[in-house]
C-alpha cells in the first residue's frame, strides 16, 4: 500500500470528519445534532490556538491539551498536520491539483519551486504572537484571523452551511443569516482561488500555523531526503511537491509538509527519496528562511500595532454600545484575549442571534460574537446556555442555567445581564403614535417582567367632538365625519367633561355608542364637548430587572429601527459599564 494512498485517505477522512462536525454543531439531541460529538476537536488539536491563549492568559485551558499531542508528533515526525489532517490544507491541495492538472511536468515543477515569499508566513506568525504576548491587559488574541482551523471553521459555519441548508432547512427551521460575512467569504474564496495561481498558496505564503509547525519540526527525527548523493536530477519529485520545499536539492525541511508525493513521483527504479533519519544526502536546510530584517520588522510592527489599535479607545471610554456579548462572556479585555473567532457559538446558537462583529466595533473585535436582536428567531432564549458550553477557549465561560437566571446558588448574584433595553419614545407606537401596542411587555420573559406599562389616555386627532343629542348610551355628534367603527376596537374611550370615561363600543359617522356599564352621572348637554381618547399602555423598562436578552427588541413591530433597543450598558460582565450604582 502506497503511503500517498494512506495520506489521501487521511485527508478525506479528516475533511469528512470536519464537515460532519460542522453539520452536527446543531442544537439538539439527535445523532446528527450536537449531543456530545467532539465538535471542537480540530480547534483543540491546533497548537496555535493553545500557544496564543497561553501567551495572552498565561494558562492552558484544559480542552486545548490535545494540542500537546500535535506538538509532540510534529517535533518527532515533522509537518504531518498540514497534509494529513488540516481540512483547509486539504481544500487547497484539491484546488491546487485541479489548477495544475492540465499543465506539463515542467510547468508544474516550476510552480512548486521554493520562493522567498514563503517566509512571509513566519512574519505573520511573529506578528500575531507578539500582539498576544503584549504585557497584561493590552494583550490581544488575533491569531484567529489567519489561523487556518478557526478560519475554515468560520467559513463553513457562517457561509457554506447556511447557504447549503438554506433551501432544505434540515439543520435549521428557517434560513440563518449572518451579518458582515461577505468579507469572510471573500477571504475564503480568495484563498481557494489563489490555488489556481500557485498550488497551496495559503499554506506556503500565509498560514501562521504552518509557520509554527515549521519551527517545531526543526529537530524531527525522520525527514524527507535523498538516500544517495547523486540522482539524475530530473526534478520529477517536485512535480507535485505540496510544500514547495525542493526535495531534489537542498530540501527545506521547514517547508516540507510530508505529502510524500516526491517519493511517489521519483522515476528511478530504486526510489531515491526516503523518509529517513539521516539528513538528505543532497543537503538540507532546517531553519526557516527568515531574514533578520524581516524578523525585526514583524516584531516591531507587532509591538506597535497593539497600542496603535488601542488608541481608538474601543475598550475604554469609546466602547461601542451595541457590542452586546453572549451570556457568560468575560469582560472585554479578557474576552479579546481568548476569542479565536471560530464562529462555533454563532453556529450553535439556536436563535441565530449571535453574529460576527464588523469593523465598526473595533479592529480587535472583528468577527467576534455579538448579539443582533433583529436577526434570528428571538433574542437570547432565557433557558439556553448553548454558546457557553461550546466555546473552545472559554472566552464565553461555561455557565449553568442557575447562574444565567440567578437561581439556586446564584440567588444573591442575580441573573446575568447582557445589557439593558431602552424604549425609544420617538418611535414606540404607544408613545409617539397613539397606537396601542404592548408586544414588548408581553414577550418579556423574566418574572416579574422587566417591562411594565403605565396607562395613558390620549385624545385622538380630531377627537374633540360636540354633543348634539344623547339617546340612551349613544351620543350623537355635530361632526359627522367619523369613520365607521374606527373606535370599536375596545381601546377607545369617550371622555365626558374630563371626569367620566366610557369605553366606546361602536360608532357611526356621527354617533358614539358607549358601553352599557357606564351610567352617566350627568347627561352631557347639547353643545358640550366630548373627547375621544385612546387607551394606551406605555412601556417602561425596569432597569433593575432587565437582563438585556433582546426578545423585546426582536418582537417590536417597528421593524426597521426598533422602538425598543438593547445596548450593553448594565452588562454583568463589566465593572465599568454599570448602569446602576
Amino acid at each position: 500500500m502506497k503511503i500517498v494512498t494512506v495520506r489521501r485517505i487521511s485527508q478525506i477522512f479528516f475533511f469528512t470528519l470536519f464537515v460532519w462536525f460542522c453539520i452536527v454543531t446543531t442544537y439538539g439531541g439527535k445523532f446528527w445534532q450536537l449531543r456530545n460529538w467532539p465538535v471542537n476537536l480540530f480547534l483543540s488539536l491546533d497548537p496555535l490556538v493553545a500557544l496564543g491563549t497561553i501567551l495572552t492568559t498565561h494558562t492552558l485551558y484544559w480542552t486545548l491539551l490535545w494540542a500537546l499531542l500535535t506538538v509532540i508528533l510534529t517535533i518527532i515526525f515533522g509537518r504531518f498536520f498540514c497534509s494529513w489532517l488540516c481540512p483547509f490544507g486539504s481544500i487547497h491541495h484539491f484546488f491546487g491539483y485541479l489548477g495544475s492538472r492540465k499543465k506539463t511536468a515542467a510547468q508544474k515543477i516550476k510552480l512548486n519551486r521554493y520562493r522567498k515569499a514563503q517566509s512571509i508566513k513566519y512574519f505573520i506568525l511573529i506578528f500575531l504572537l507578539i500582539t498576544a504576548a503584549f504585557p497584561s491587559l493590552a494583550a490581544t488574541l488575533q491569531t484567529g484571523l489567519l489561523d487556518p482551523i478557526p478560519l475554515v471553521t468560520r467559513s463553513f459555519n457562517l457561509i457554506l452551511m447556511p447557504i447549503a441548508d438554506g433551501s432544505v432547512n434540515i439543520l435549521s427551521v428557517s434560513q440563518r443569516f449572518y451579518d458582515t460575512t461577505f468579507v469572510i467569504f471573500a477571504i475564503f474564496l480568495a484563498a481557494v482561488l489563489l490555488n489556481f495561481v500557485i498550488p497551496r498558496f495559503y499554506c506556503r505564503f500565509i498560514c501562521p500555523l504552518g509557520a509554527l509547525f515549521a519551527v517545531l519540526s526543526r529537530f524531527s527525527i525522520w525527514r524527507i531526503g535523498k538516500k544517495t548523493k547523486t540522482c539524475s536530477n530530473c526534478k520529477f519529485c517536485e512535480q507535485h511537491c505540496e510544500g514547495a520545499c525542493e526535495p531534489s536539492a537542498d530540501i527545506k525541511i521547514s517547508e516540507c509538509v510530508l505529502c510524500f508525493n516526491c517519493r511517489q513521483d521519483c522515476k528511478t527504479k530504486d526510489n531515491v527519496i526516503r523518509y529517513q533519519v539521516r539528513p538528505s544526502l543532497a543537503g538540507e536546510v532546517t531553519n526557516p528562511d527568515i531574514s533578520r530584517r524581516g524578523f525585526v520588522l514583524s516584531l516591531a510592527s507587532g509591538l506597535l500595532a497593539v497600542p496603535a489599535v488601542r488608541l481608538a479607545g474601543k475598550i475604554k471610554a469609546n466602547w461601542p454600545h451595541k457590542l452586546i456579548r453572549p451570556p457568560g462572556s468575560l469582560a472585554e479585555p479578557e474576552f479579546l484575549k481568548r476569542c479565536i473567532k471560530c464562529g462555533q457559538c454563532m453556529r450553535i446558537c439556536p436563535t441565530n442571534v449571535l453574529q460576527p462583529a464588523g469593523l465598526d466595533k473595533g479592529l480587535e473585535a472583528l468577527w467576534t460574537p455579538i448579539l443582533n436582536n433583529r436577526i434570528g428567531t428571538s433574542g437570547c432564549q432565557l433557558n439556553c446556555i448553548a454558546c457557553s458550553q461550546i466555546c473552545p477557549t472559554a472566552a464565553i465561560r461555561k455557565i449553568t442555567i442557575d447562574e444565567k437566571l440567578g437561581t439556586g446558588d446564584f440567588v444573591d448574584k442575580g441573573p446575568l445581564k447582557l445589557g439593558t433595553a431602552f424604549v425609544d419614545r420617538n418611535r414606540c407606537l404607544s408613545w409617539a403614535f397613539d397606537k396601542p401596542c404592548i408586544v414588548c411587555e408581553e414577550n418579556c420573559p423574566v418574572s416579574p417582567k422587566a417591562i411594565f406599562t403605565r396607562e395613558y389616555f390620549s385624545t385622538v386627532r380630531d377627537g374633540l367632538l360636540t354633543v348634539k343629542k344623547v339617546v340612551g348610551n349613544t351620543i350623537e355628534t355635530v361632526e359627522n365625519n367619523l369613520t365607521l367603527d374606527k373606535f370599536a376596537t375596545g381601546d377607545y374611550y369617550c371622555s365626558l367633561d374630563g371626569s367620566q370615561k366610557g369605553k366606546i363600543v361602536t360608532n357611526t359617522n356621527n354617533a358614539i355608542t358607549i358601553s352599557k356599564e357606564v351610567k352617566f352621572a350627568k347627561i352631557p348637554a347639547e353643545g358640550s364637548k366630548i373627547h375621544i381618547q385612546v387607551r394606551l399602555q406605555r412601556p417602561y423598562v425596569d432597569i433593575e430587572r432587565c437582563i438585556g436578552c433582546g426578545i423585546c427588541e426582536h418582537e417590536c413591530p417597528v421593524s426597521g429601527k426598533k422602538a425598543i433597543r438593547v445596548s450593553a450598558e448594565g452588562e454583568s460582565r463589566s465593572t465599568d459599564r454599570k448602569l446602576l450604582l
Binding site: H58, T59, L60, V71, I72, I75, F219, E334, R397, K398
Partner: protein, 331 residues
C-alpha cells in the same frame, strides 16, 4: 575510513537532533503541565485594584494617645513618643518606614501651613538611630507643584539630611483602590507604591483651621494620599475625611499644635494667623488625636461632624478622654 567518519558524524548529528527533539518535547510538556487550567476563567475580571496595608500595631491600654506641652517641638515630640512606649514600640529594626507629612503647599515653614521640617527630621532620626529602621521614605501628593512644595516647605532638605529618601508623587506610583462600604473611594487612585514597600506608616500634620472642614489635622492629612481629581470630594468633605481614616490605618500620627493656625486655614499666609499653643500630640488613633486637637482651635469635637462619622464607622474614637491620654510637660 572516510565513510566511517562520516557515519560517526551522522550518528552524532542524529543524537544531537534527537536530544534537541526530546528536550523540546519535555519543554512543551512542562509548559502544558504548569499552565494547565482545569477551571477556566472566573466571572470576575482580574482587577488591578489594590488594598492599602494596615499599618497599625496592637493597642495597649493607656498608651494610645499622649499630649505633651512645651515650646520645643523636638523635645516635645520625643517625649510624646516615649510616653507611648518609645519609637521602638512602633518601628522594629530593619523595617521600612514611610512618613507622610503635610507638604500640601508651597509655603515656608514659618507660616505653619505645612509640617515643620525640624519635627519631621526628628522623627526620621528616631527611626534610624533608635529604632534601627532600614529605610525611611517621605512622601506626599501636594496640592501645589510637588517638587516646589518639598523644596519651599524645606521638608525635602530636612528629610534628605536626616537620611530619608523623598518620593515624589509620579503618576505611575498611583493605583486604583476601592474601600468597602465607602461612598467615594471606589476605584480611586491612591499613592500606593511607596506604601506597598513599607512596614510602618507615620503621619505628621500641623493643627490648622479649615474653611470647609472647620479643621485640618491628622485625619485630613491623609487626603495627601489620594490621586485623581480629588477636589470633587470637597462637596462632601466630612464623609471623605471619615473615609480617609477607614482607608488608611497608620502606625502613629504626630499632631503638631506648637503653632496652631487658628484663622484663614488651611493656607494661612500671615503670621498673625498662628497662635502659640505649644502642644504636640502623639496618637495611635487619628480620630482621638483630632478630637483633642480641635480644642487648640477653640472648637469642640461636636463641631467636627467627621469625628462622629469616623467613630460610627469604627475607625477610631472621638472621645479621647476614654483612651486615658498621658499628659506631660517639657520645658
Amino acid at each position: 575510513m572516510n565513510e566511517k567518519n562520516e557515519q560517526q558524524l551522522n550518528r552524532r548529528r542524529f543524537l544531537a537532533r534527537a536530544v534537541k527533539a526530546g528536550l523540546s518535547i519535555a519543554a512543551a510538556g512542562v509548559i502544558a503541565k504548569t499552565l494547565y487550567d482545569r477551571q477556566g476563567p472566573s466571572a470576575q475580571p482580574p482587577s488591578d485594584l489594590v488594598t492599602i496595608p494596615d499599618f497599625s500595631i496592637p493597642a495597649v491600654q493607656g498608651r494610645t494617645i499622649s499630649i505633651v506641652k512645651g515650646p520645643d517641638r523636638v523635645k516635645t515630640v520625643d517625649k510624646a513618643i516615649d510616653l507611648l512606649g518609645g519609637i521602638e514600640r512602633f518601628v522594629k529594626p530593619n523595617e521600612t518606614v514611610v512618613i507622610k507629612p503635610n507638604v500640601a503647599f508651597t509655603s515656608v515653614p514659618a507660616l505653619g501651613a505645612t509640617a515643620n521640617p525640624g519635627l519631621v527630621a526628628e522623627v526620621i532620626r528616631l527611626c534610624y538611630s533608635r529604632a534601627k529602621a532600614k529605610r525611611v521614605y517621605i512622601t506626599d501628593n501636594p496640592i501645589n507643584n510637588p517638587a516646589s512644595c518639598f523644596t519651599i516647605s524645606q521638608i525635602g532638605k530636612a528629610a534628605t539630611q536626616a537620611g530619608a529618601e523623598v518620593i515624589l508623587p509620579k503618576l505611575n506610583l498611583f493605583r486604583p483602590t476601592t474601600l468597602e462600604k465607602s461612598k467615594y473611594i471606589r476605584n480611586w487612585p491612591v499613592l500606593y507604591e511607596p506604601l506597598a514597600k513599607a512596614d510602618k506608616l507615620i503621619g505628621i500634620a500641623p493643627v490648622k483651621s479649615h474653611s470647609r472642614a472647620a479643621a485640618s489635622m491628622s485625619m485630613k492629612n491623609f487626603y495627601g494620599l489620594l490621586g485623581g481629581r480629588r477636589n470633587l470630594f470637597h462637596q462632601d468633605i466630612n464623609t471623605i475625611i471619615a473615609e480617609l481614616v477607614m482607608l488608611v490605618k497608620p502606625t502613629l500620627v504626630i499632631l503638631d499644635g506648637t503653632e496652631t493656625m487658628v484663622t484663614n486655614g488651611p493656607t494661612g499666609g500671615s503670621f498673625s494667623d498662628l497662635k502659640r499653643t505649644d502642644t504636640v500630640i502623639a496618637s495611635c488613633d487619628p480620630v482621638a488625636a483630632d478630637s483633642f486637637g480641635c480644642s487648640l482651635l477653640g472648637l469642640k469635637p461636636a463641631d467636627l461632624p467627621y469625628l462622629a462619622k469616623a467613630q460610627s464607622a469604627g475607625a477610631g474614637t472621638a472621645d479621647y478622654q476614654s483612651l486615658k491620654p498621658i499628659i506631660a510637660n517639657v520645658t
